[in-house]
């Protein structure tokens, strides 16, 4: 089965002042995949996601989303074309209600907002219960669900999730990953950046290993899991 290309990154480099965060990165995401991006803290995972969304502009290279060049576009234009980023550390608008948070996720998508809202509440019944509660009063796991729900409200064609496991208890981590797998089965295409390599590789189709701003390895998640370097560096097992 030939899958449509959703995101195609070619040779992008990103620098913060004199420090080069990303060096000639190329990456592809196809429709219906979960692509995982693993790497240590500071390897450049977040920088890569930010540059896809135009928050940190790439100095060279190109980013194609659904066939059109978004490298130089403004963030709001990129978001409206169908990419969403769920940032690390379950970031929400903590002084606003759960419902308001979800409504803000649908900034460009007010047309089928009530339909999306119903769907998000089906995914996360807890959010329906808490819909009039202030976001900041939710637990960490609930906040992460709210952040994912907010992303879903925009009907994204590509969901980028940054470190969803950060700061959550192991049981909740598994729950969040299960949700991502279920979402993927429903048809969502996901690009997942994660330090927890084992969990991430278990749920993804393909993966990229980032090391100090460069792609060190890429391939099927199965291949990566069997790769001795990956096992040693990220899965903590001796070969």
């Amino acid at each position: 089965m030939k899958k449509n290309n959703i995101l195609k990154i070619k040779d992008i480099s990103v620098s913060y002042g004199p420090i080069r965060a990303l060096n000639n990165i190329s990456l592809e995401v196809n429709e219906g995949e979960i692509v995982v991006l693993i790497g240590a803290n500071g390897a450049g995972k977040t920088s890569l996601l930010k540059s896809i969304l135009g928050i940190q502009k790439a100095q060279s290279g190109s980013i194609l989303f659904l066939g059109s060049d978004v490298t130089r576009k403004a963030t709001d234009k990129i978001v409206s074309s169908g990419i969403c980023l769920i940032p690390e550390g379950h970031v929400i608008f903590s002084s606003m209600t759960v419902l308001e948070n979800l409504q803000l996720g649908a900034y460009y998508n007010t047309y089928d907002m009530s339909k999306n809202l119903k769907r998000v509440f089906e995914w996360f019944p807890i959010l329906r219960e808490r819909s009039s509660q202030i976001g900041g009063t939710l637990s960490g796991g609930e906040q992460q669900m709210l952040a994912i729900g907010r992303g879903l409200m925009s009907n994204p064609k590509l969901m980028m999730v940054d470190e969803p496991s950060l700061g959550l208890a192991p049981k909740l981590v598994s729950e969040i990953f299960n949700i991502l797998i279920k979402l993927n089965k429903e048809g969502y295409t996901i690009l997942l950046a994660e330090q927890n390599a084992k969990k991430a590789l278990e749920c993804g189709n393909r993966g990229y290993v980032l090391e100090i701003g460069k792609i060190a390895l890429q391939g099927n998640t199965q291949e990566l899991m069997n790769n001795s370097n990956v096992r040693q560096a990220y899965l903590g097992s001796s070969v």
């Binding site: 403004a74 709001d76 978001v79 980023l85 970031v91 608008f93 409504q103 803000l104 900034y107 907010r150």
Partner: protein
């Protein structure tokens, strides 16, 4: 008792004007991320525009329209100046204070040199509504009733817009977390410019209420009001919309009560001593800083 009720109505009218001023000011703090010290000055300049048009045409509708137009234009014109101080993630809020203070001084100077030869302006009786209405011992001018009704309604409408509409939600989202607002796709620069427009619209309306309530204006009115607005918003907690609502009303009532029962000349001193004490005891303001 009747005197007290009349004073209370007056205080609430003045208070609702303060609330609107503080809210417009806080909107700029929250969304545009600037301290717009010159906001009340722009309101007073719009009152002058209103007065000029009344002098020239004696047409109330035209006067209202030009008052709002001038206020919107002044606020929008200031945007490119402030934008030079900001970038997407951070802003130099101290620099914006200095810039807006110079704007304020220029506006005051224009009013005291070039408009009405620097003399205070008095609005015609037809505008202020001189006819009196009696309820028992309470005598109110029509203008006082308009200012009271208009002020309360404007506060209700504006808070409804901020808390119950999409645009209001977007403003509050940008105020709380600019980075996340950008992530969900809110156009930061456009929304920020729009906040200047809304502040301008609100400013025009405040100018109309103020001119009806006071019946006059002078070149230095902007300064007096600006000090109160900035002090009120600091006492409430900078950027705290609900705090501004409470403290604005309180200031209006307190000021009028002091004028009525103690002495008019002491009302400023009393207001500012109270503010000094509150800021000393609660540096974050009574309701907490929101930026």
């Amino acid at each position: 008792m009747e005197v007290f009720i009349a004073q209370l109505l007056n205080g609430l009218s003045l208070g609702s004007i303060y609330v609107l001023l503080v809210t417009g000011f806080n909107l700029m703090v929250l969304v545009a991320r600037i301290i717009q010290f010159a906001y009340p000055h722009m309101v007073v300049l719009s009152m002058y525009a209103c007065w000029e048009v009344l002098q020239l045409t004696n047409n109330m509708f035209l006067a209202i329209l030009s008052c709002i137009a001038v206020s919107v234009i002044l606020n929008i014109l200031s945007e490119p100046i402030f934008r030079r101080l900001t970038n997407r993630e951070s802003i130099d809020i101290n620099a914006s204070f200095v810039v807006s203070m110079s704007m304020a001084l220029v506006i005051t100077d224009i009013m005291s040199h070039s408009l009405n030869y620097g003399f205070p302006i008095a609005f015609p009786a037809s505008w202020v509504g001189e006819s009196l209405i009696r309820f028992g011992l309470i005598i109110l001018s029509k203008g006082q009733i308009y200012a009271f009704g208009g002020g309360i309604i404007a506060v209700l409408i504006f808070f409804y817009l901020l808390y119950r509409t999409k645009q209001g939600r977007v403003f509050r989202a940008m105020a709380e977390n600019r980075y996340l607002a950008r992530l969900v796709g809110i156009p930061i620069v456009k929304t920020s410019i729009f906040s200047y427009f809304i502040a301008g619209l609100l400013g025009g309306f405040i100018a109309i209420l103020f001119s009806v309530f006071l019946g006059s204006a002078s070149p230095h009115l902007g300064e007096f009001v600006a000090l109160k607005v900035i002090a009120t918003s600091l006492v409430a907690g900078l950027g705290n919309l609900k705090g501004g609502l409470v403290c604005g009303l309180l200031l209006g009532v307190a000021e009028v009560m002091v004028m009525g029962y103690i002495s008019g000349s002491w009302s400023n001193a009393i207001a500012f001593i109270m503010m000094l004490l509150i800021v000393l005891i609660k540096p974050q303001g009574l309701f907490g800083i929101k930026i």
